[in-house]
């Protein structure tokens, strides 16, 4: 077989294949539910209901989507430049760590300047963590996939070490967790009386900012050029390595914000289970959004819905909650295939 590019794919092709991919994902999900001895339709219904079926569920989904928007944006920005940042997990923890370091009494400032400084510092921490792998890539040609992945493991150990050592909350009854943030360092709620913090608002603003950067600024143009064809970009005078460093700053910074938002908005302190793999899930979010920053918001909501819905379904129907991960991984793989098929035709020869 051979792939032949299609000059102007029709609407049916452009929408049909992604639709089939989603349908197949649903079919697989149903099969898994049946395998677990549950009624597939009821299971899917429970997932939907658990995700958006009530005010509480919907808020839970929005809260869960918040870090995913940040990590999804982080991955989308990096992948756009073909910078394979798989380290959003570590960068998230770096942001969270800085939030705790600055927000537990180090600075006795009023809320607004304090939060602004902490947010910037968290971004910087995430960015710095990605700079190492990028410099290794541009200077020594080390593949950043492996280095960013390995740093995820190192970072978790660093956090673990700090939480059992200097950062350990003396009032924490021996649990490895940090002291709680001071009042001024907590992100306020978005609306009075709704359990949804400003992190969500910040995430939406970030998506908008990234979108503007990508479409309206020279940096966005440079990032896309480097990602599409680094050789042509270099020839045309685009400073490829510098663009990669800027991309890393943006990408790492966004992941760092995820950590800030989780600690300052939701949890109030730092623990080792702050992120159940938000960094990795960000890859799915970004890919499902075709790396489009506004699409990231939608796909983060979808992914968060699947997770939250599956959790609640699992409690009710007894289907293991890992069904959510299977569904998302399947959706990811089928979606990249479907998108290929919208642009190429398979020809037998």
């Amino acid at each position: 077989m051979r792939l032949e590019p299609i000059a102007n794919p029709g609407l049916v092709r452009r929408l049909g294949f992604p639709a089939v991919a989603l349908a197949v994902t649903v079919v697989i999900g149903s099969a898994l539910a049946m395998l677990a001895g549950a009624d597939p339709f009821a299971t899917l219904g429970l997932i939907v209901k658990g995700a958006v079926g009530s005010r509480f569920a919907a808020l839970e989904t929005l809260n869960r989507a918040t870090p995913l928007i940040f990590t999804g944006l982080s991955v989308a920005v990096a992948f756009r430049a073909k910078l394979w940042n798989i380290g959003a997990e570590a960068q998230l923890y770096a942001g969270a760590l800085v939030t705790v370091l600055l927000g537990t009494g180090a600075l006795a400032w009023p809320a607004l300047p304090l939060l602004a400084v902490i947010a910037l510092a968290a971004m910087l921490a995430g960015a710095v963590l990605l700079l190492g792998p990028v410099v290794m890539k541009t200077r020594a040609g080390v593949d950043e996939v492996v280095t960013t992945l390995l740093i995820n493991f190192i970072m978790l150990l660093v956090i673990s070490m700090l939480l059992e050592g200097p950062l350990k909350d003396p009032m924490g009854m021996g649990w490895p967790k940090s002291a709680p943030l001071q009042k001024a360092a907590r992100l306020p709620r978005l609306f009075e009386g709704l359990r949804l913090h400003w992190g969500f608002g910040l995430a939406l603003i970030s998506a908008l900012v990234v979108w503007v950067i990508q479409t309206r600024t020279t940096l966005g143009y440079e990032i896309r050029a480097v990602g599409q064809n680094a050789q042509a970009a270099r020839f045309a005078g685009i400073p490829v390595n510098r663009v990669l460093l800027k991309t890393a700053f943006l990408s790492g910074g966004l992941a760092g914000l995820a950590g800030f938002s989780e600690v300052a908005g939701l949890k109030g302190n730092l623990t080792l289970d702050l992120s159940p793999g938000f960094g990795y899930t960000g890859i799915i979010v970004a890919m499902l959004a075709l790396l489009h920053p506004l699409g990231v918001v939608l796909s983060a909501l979808f992914v968060a819905g699947v997770f939250v819905g599956s959790d609640s379904m699992s409690r009710a129907a007894g289907v293991p909650t890992y069904i959510a991960d299977i569904l998302l991984a399947t959706a990811l793989l089928l979606m990249v295939l479907a998108l290929l098929l919208t642009r190429f035709r398979v020809v037998r020869d």
Partner: protein, 514 residues
């Protein structure tokens, strides 16, 4: 009787081969015979369908209609192994060798069932040595292919075919990468092969080679076989006419009026880049109002010189001087700022970004300046206006400025690059293989633009592997060989044979001593 004997001598027969790619008919009902001990030249412009035809014969493509017979037996379509087994060997234009393996291993690749244990190296080695001697193809069987010169790699390709007992050899543009002298050695090998009863299809667009080696010439144009003549009964002029469909005229150039030197290199050296030699003590001056032609066999330092002038590399030693000053920080940006327009060798990989629109590609070199951007903010309206201007001025055929450039033909892509480079009014134009792979119409368009730029006072450096192109256009010719640059020769000062000598590296010792 003789009819019958002829029939028995036919080793390959193509009947009504037709192949379409979408709307394009690459091969239109092509039929011909190849006889034992015969050399057929397949002549045609780029895009005439030569390579497609050979890929069908070799089973890489399946024809939409028609059949191929080898030694009287039909070849199943779409099976390269069947073609190999029937005794068809192909030397591709782009070598199909694995650099990390040795010559012997490359030759052995695919000759044995994949599931057999062992390679039978010893016996194979002896046979390769024997074949090398028989056909005059000197190459060490245990050398790593990555360390071989281009000429040696081609010998490995031919050995691969011979090792598989090929009775029919197909060579796709084999001399494009050779010096005239190396090409002569290749022709000698081919004569030996013919003497041993092999048959050869020689694909080329170089008329003098076709005249030199073939016994019969087939001419392809726009996918159709438009003529078939015995080589002895034709001449270059007639072949050229058949190939293009009209008499070819080289542009008649008025004598150049050279102005001051705009860029000079003095004793410049750059490091080798893998198999690509760097520059060795190069002196060069580019004057206003002059076309300087750089002749040479591919891979002799053209890339090093082009990269240097494009701003991608810096001299390791020696000086690069612009008319005004010695550039402090030499980069693509400073090169552009100094008024150097660059037309890169590979328009697909270096010249354009395939999935970018025409607009986005048009501003690739100038996006950071007004009016296309201010303080980091893009002005897309201005960018699109610029793209439209290039599209009209340079006759880029496309649906519109939003079209992704990958959908354009090579010629139209090149016109956009040309427009992007020439529109700012450059003082120096670096044109690296500017017409490779273009059809005749686009070729003369590009050439006329370069000449017009010269006449309006720009300095043009034309790098080409096509000696005819250089000799037709250049006011001054330099030859590059292994990174060394010959002195400049005026128009008509040197014959092709003399230039060939320089291309093969002769004459440099004398100049260096002097």
């Amino acid at each position: 009787m003789s009819q019958q004997r002829d029939e028995a001598q036919v080793v390959l027969r193509l009947e009504g081969i037709t192949k379409r790619f979408g709307a394009l008919t690459a091969n239109d009902a092509i039929s011909f015979d190849l006889r034992r001990g015969e050399v057929i030249a397949l002549l045609g412009e780029n895009g005439a369908g030569k390579t497609t035809l050979m890929n069908i014969l070799f089973g890489h493509y399946t024809a939409d209609a028609g059949r191929v017979e080898v030694f009287g037996r039909a070849l199943p379509p779409g099976h390269p192994r069947a073609a190999l087994a029937a005794g068809v060997g192909m030397v591709h234009q782009h070598f199909t060798l694995a650099d990390n393996l040795t010559v012997l291993e490359n030759i052995l690749l695919g000759t044995r069932s994949l599931w057999r244990p062992g390679l039978g190296r010893a016996a194979a080695r002896a046979r390769v040595v024997q074949l090398s001697a028989d056909f005059g193809l000197a190459v060490h069987p245990d050398a790593r292919v990555g360390s071989l010169s281009v000429g040696e790699r081609q010998r490995v390709e031919i050995l691969k075919a011979l090792y598989r007992d090929a009775r029919i050899l197909i060579l796709d543009e084999p001399t494009a990468v050779l010096t005239p002298q190396e090409a002569d050695a290749l022709f000698e090998t081919l004569r030996k092969a013919v003497g041993l009863g092999l048959s050869i299809i020689f694909i080329s667009h170089k008329l003098h080679e076709v005249m030199a080696v073939s016994s019969r010439v087939l001419v392809l144009r726009h996918g159709r076989l438009v003529g078939q003549v015995a080589t002895t009964e034709t001449d270059r002029h007639q072949l050229a006419e058949m190939m293009v469909g009209a008499e070819v005229t080289m542009p008649r150039l008025a004598a150049a009026v050279p102005g001051p030197a705009l860029l000079t290199l003095s004793q410049v050296c750059t490091p080798d880049q893998g198999a690509q030699p760097g520059l060795k003590h190069v002196d060069l001056a580019l004057h206003a109002g002059q076309i300087v032609g750089l002749a040479g066999v591919s891979g002799n330092g053209q890339a090093a010189l082009a990269d240097l002038l494009a701003g991608l590399t810096r001299p390791a030693s020696g000086g690069l001087h612009l008319a005004k000053a010695v550039p402090q920080d030499w980069s693509p940006r400073t090169a552009l700022a100094a008024g150097i327009a660059r037309i890169p060798e590979d328009r697909h990989k270096t010249g354009t970004i395939a999935d970018f629109s025409l607009t986005e590609n048009a501003i690739l070199e100038s996006y950071g300046e007004a009016p296309f951007s201010r303080r980091g903010w893009m002005n897309w309206a201005e960018a699109e206006r610029f793209a439209k201007q290039i599209i009209t001025t340079y006759d880029v055929r496309c649906p519109g400025p939003d079209t992704r450039i990958r959908l354009l033909s090579g010629g139209n892509m090149q016109k956009l690059i040309l427009g992007r480079a020439l529109e700012p009014g450059p003082r120096i134009i670096l044109a690296n293989q500017p017409v490779r792979g273009l059809d005749i119409g686009a070729v003369s368009y590009v050439h006329s633009r370069l000449v017009a730029a010269r006449d309006s006072g720009a300095s043009v450096l034309l790098i080409s592997e096509d000696l005819d192109e250089i000799m037709g256009l250049a006011d001054v010719i330099h030859v590059i060989s292994e990174g060394r640059l010959s002195p400049g020769f005026g128009r008509g000062e040197m014959s092709p044979v003399q230039l060939g000598g320089w291309m093969a590296g002769q004459g440099f010792e004398v100049t260096n001593a002097a």
